[in-house]
């Protein structure tokens, strides 16, 4: 755990107590069973917004607290522990950072205060296929209108504002489209992790360009990737701790199974990988806050290491729980499903390994 300042410690403690009291994994289960189309509990999201969490990276002049990325990472880590579903990642990090970095004054004035107070939800429409590939953009911006198809837009089904990557006269960049525009057609996707996502077709939807072109697209994606890695860290740590607790109580052959060295050493390996991944995730968030030039490589390092680690821990959670881990009544399956969905989002391990090496020139 990084060394925190006073505000960060308070944020983390608040997030920890809120998720444990108000949003344990049973709340996620209830949300899933309810089949709610947005993939999160609106009442819980309101509570989060009331605590100011949606404004953590937004400047004070637009109603945020401007605490930065390590701070929102701490909140997401706690939310990740209990698999709390919310638009915090794509709205308060994704859409918010797109507007902060590339929004015009009028776009900022209109949308940032609403995003900060949680009354508007923003989403990022970037991918156009089954894999994250932000360089491959067929969606077009012409004459003030967007045409094209975007896939797997997280929290996109009912988002109020869509930040869409498209090819315009000056190349790829972000464009702002209102969710209720007549040219927006959305199809809800039912995914294994029960979180909200949609395919979106833009049929000449009215759009306003953001500034900054492809560079801002990349910067925004890196902020979301780092923040998602923090959520994955929380989920992986929780999955590990639940598994460890089980190793200490499950008795076979007359002793707790945690006394078997075969399992102990797998637990030690998971702990080692979690510590390494935590360092990578925190370093990426700190680099974004510090504005250092190595953000892209540190983010790819974090997303790749965290993806590998969550992958391992979620598999081991099911395996070490044995038959009970296969049942829907147990939480292990939730962590396993969330792991794969989070790995695939905004670039899986293969994507980020390749990107890391390209940045380093090989």
């Amino acid at each position: 755990m990084a060394v925190l300042n006073e505000e960060q410690s308070m944020l983390r403690d608040a997030a920890k107590s809120w998720t444990q009291e108000k949003s344990p994994v049973t709340a996620f289960r209830k949300m899933r069973d309810s089949g709610v189309d947005v993939g999160y509990d609106a009442a819980a999201w309101n509570e989060m917004a009331e605590m100011g969490w949606a404004g953590v990276i937004i400047p004070e002049e637009y109603g945020g607290s401007d605490f930065g990325y390590l701070s929102i990472g701490l909140i997401l880590e706690e939310l990740g522990r209990t698999l709390t579903a919310s638009p915090l990642l794509v709205s308060a990090v994704g859409a918010a950072s797109a507007l902060v970095l590339g929004g015009t004054d009028s776009q900022k004035t209109e949308w940032l205060p609403k995003i900060a107070e949680g009354t508007a939800v923003g989403a990022l429409a970037v991918d156009e296929g089954a894999h994250h590939n932000p360089d491959k953009v067929e969606t077009k911006f012409e004459g003030g209108k967007i045409t094209g198809k975007k896939t797997f837009v997280l929290e996109g089904f009912k988002a109020d504002v869509l930040i869409v990557s498209a090819k315009g006269p000056d190349g790829v960049g972000f464009y702002l489209v209102r969710g209720d525009d007549a040219g927006v057609s959305r199809t809800r996707l039912a995914l294994a992790d029960s979180r909200g996502a949609a395919n979106i077709e833009f049929k000449g939807a009215a759009a306003e360009p953001l500034t900054g072109g492809a560079a801002v697209v990349e910067q925004v994606l890196d902020r979301v990737r780092a923040a998602l890695s923090a959520e994955m860290l929380g989920a992986a740590v929780q999955a590990f701790e639940v598994t460890l607790d089980y190793l200490k109580v499950r008795v076979q052959f007359g002793q707790v199974i945690g006394s078997f060295q075969a399992l102990q050493h797998r637990a030690a390996k998971m702990f080692t990988d979690l510590e390494l991944a935590r360092s990578a995730v925190e370093a990426a968030l700190q680099a974004i806050d510090a504005g250092t030039p190595d953000v892209p490589e540190l983010v790819s390092l974090a997303k790749a290491k965290m993806g590998d680690t969550f992958h391992l821990v979620s598999n081991e959670m099911v395996q070490m729980h044995g038959g009970i881990g296969m049942t829907d009544a147990h939480d292990a399956g939730f962590y396993l499903k969330r792991a794969r969905a989070a790995e695939a989002a905004f670039g899986n391990q293969a994507f980020h390994r390749d990107r890391y090496a390209k940045i380093q020139g090989y």
Partner: protein
């Protein structure tokens, strides 16, 4: 990342720069540290002069107390010295087991007399120490050691055998675990010091798979250790040994500072040179490329963890749990890297000797073989995992039953 020092370090930096310029012999610039070589040759007059200068200054062990000849500096100040040595192309001539393991342990557990006697020669690089811990029947289960010390009034008489005694053939003194009570296991072990230059000590180097002999078998036949050289209480040596092993592990993992960087052109450039790249600059062998990236990432995350655990231990949050993983993470990374280096070089990476192979190639094969020891010594990979399981994760310990 974080800046570890303030402007008050500037004065020290200037002093260090000037002192190194005045004392470091120009002919040694960029030369390897003779302390890091397994085969020790007689030092040149320049090497001797540099060792003496650093020894007098105390900067070879910058954070050790001034009272015993150390530098008396803070961690931040010590890094300034390290940086300035690096910048000047100078090596630290003060090293070995006395610096890495024994000195820090004696400073913590020794009596005032013991510290006065033994610390200054380590600071000055005058005496080398070796570690008498492992025995043929006591490796991972170190506490089952049998080497016996009998109480003869003002001294102990030591009989038995030690093995894997690194550098025993060059050592002047030995810090040794001996059995002083056969009725108990951990509580029957004492920590004693004695000179290697006595008739009862015999050293035989062990040729290893890498072709050299950094380790020895060491035999004691009525060897003598003075009573004043018992460290800690009689039968209280195990606590001290555990503390010493912590120093050893932090040194072996590279977390103790320095020793991390790769010399030469770096593994990525090496891979491009041997294997080639496509028109986009990617390594032509995509399978190798993926594994190389993973190793690069492992190394980077390891470094980040070293920084994080240092920052955490400097804040008020107490010792960092991250330190427990450093040895396994560091050695895993290094061994994988050595394997990758060999694979990158192909057959050229398997040369044993001769002019058909570059020094880098010959070094790679020896380093690969020698590096296999890193997951065995200093507490094997498996022992490290036992320690994490028991002490950090709170899983039951089944290794302490006997």
């Amino acid at each position: 990342m974080a800046d570890f020092g303030g402007g008050d370090l500037d004065a020290l930096r200037t002093e260090a720069k000037e002192w190194i310029a005045a004392n470091f012999p120009a002919s040694l610039k960029g030369r390897p540290n003779p302390m890091m070589r397994e085969e020790r040759s007689t030092p040149s007059p320049e090497q001797e002069a540099w060792r003496k200068a650093m020894g007098e200054k105390g900067w070879g062990v910058p954070t050790w107390p001034k009272a015993y000849g150390g530098g008396g500096l803070s961690g931040a100040e010590a890094r300034v010295i390290q940086q300035e040595l690096g910048r000047a192309g100078a090596y630290n001539p003060i090293g070995g087991m006395g610096v890495m393991m024994f000195g820090p342990t004696l400073l913590e557990y020794g009596t005032e007399e013991q510290k006065q006697e033994h610390i200054p020669p380590i600071v000055k690089g005058e005496l080398q120490w070796c570690q008498g811990f492992s025995e043929p029947g006591a490796g991972s289960d170190l506490a089952s050691l049998q080497c016996k010390a009998e109480d003869k009034g003002d001294h102990f008489v030591i009989n038995g055998q030690k093995i894997w005694t690194s550098g025993a053939q060059y050592a002047d003194w030995c810090f040794c675990l001996v059995r002083t009570d056969t009725s108990k296991k951990h509580e029957g072990i004492s920590f004693v010091l004695f000179t290697m230059h006595q008739p009862g000590v015999e050293v035989r180097p062990i040729p290893l798979i890498a072709g050299n002999s950094p380790f020895c078998e060491t035999f004691f036949t009525d060897a003598i250790a003075d009573k004043k050289n018992l460290v800690g209480p009689l039968n209280g040596g195990w606590t001290i040994a555990k503390r010493l092993l912590q120093h050893e592990r932090s040194g072996l993992s590279g977390a103790g500072g320095g020793g991390f960087g790769m010399g030469g052109r770096g593994i990525v450039q090496m891979a491009k040179d041997y294997v080639g790249a496509d028109e986009d600059g990617r390594l032509s062998d995509s399978d190798l490329r993926t594994r190389l990236i993973m190793n690069e990432m492992d190394g980077r995350a390891f470094q980040q963890t070293a920084v994080r655990s240092m920052m955490e231990s400097r804040s008020n949050s107490g010792p960092s749990a991250a330190t427990s993983i450093m040895k396994n993470a560091g050695t895993r990374w290094m061994q994988d890297r050595a394997e990758l280096t060999l694979e990158i070089m192909g057959h050229q990476g398997l040369g044993w000797e001769g002019d058909d192979f570059s020094a880098e190639e010959l070094g790679a094969v020896r380093g690969w073989l020698g590096g296999k020891a890193t997951t065995i010594y200093g507490g094997s990979q498996e022992v490290q995992n036992n320690i994490i399981s028991k002490r950090i994760l709170g899983l039951p310990d089944l290794t302490q039953n006997n």
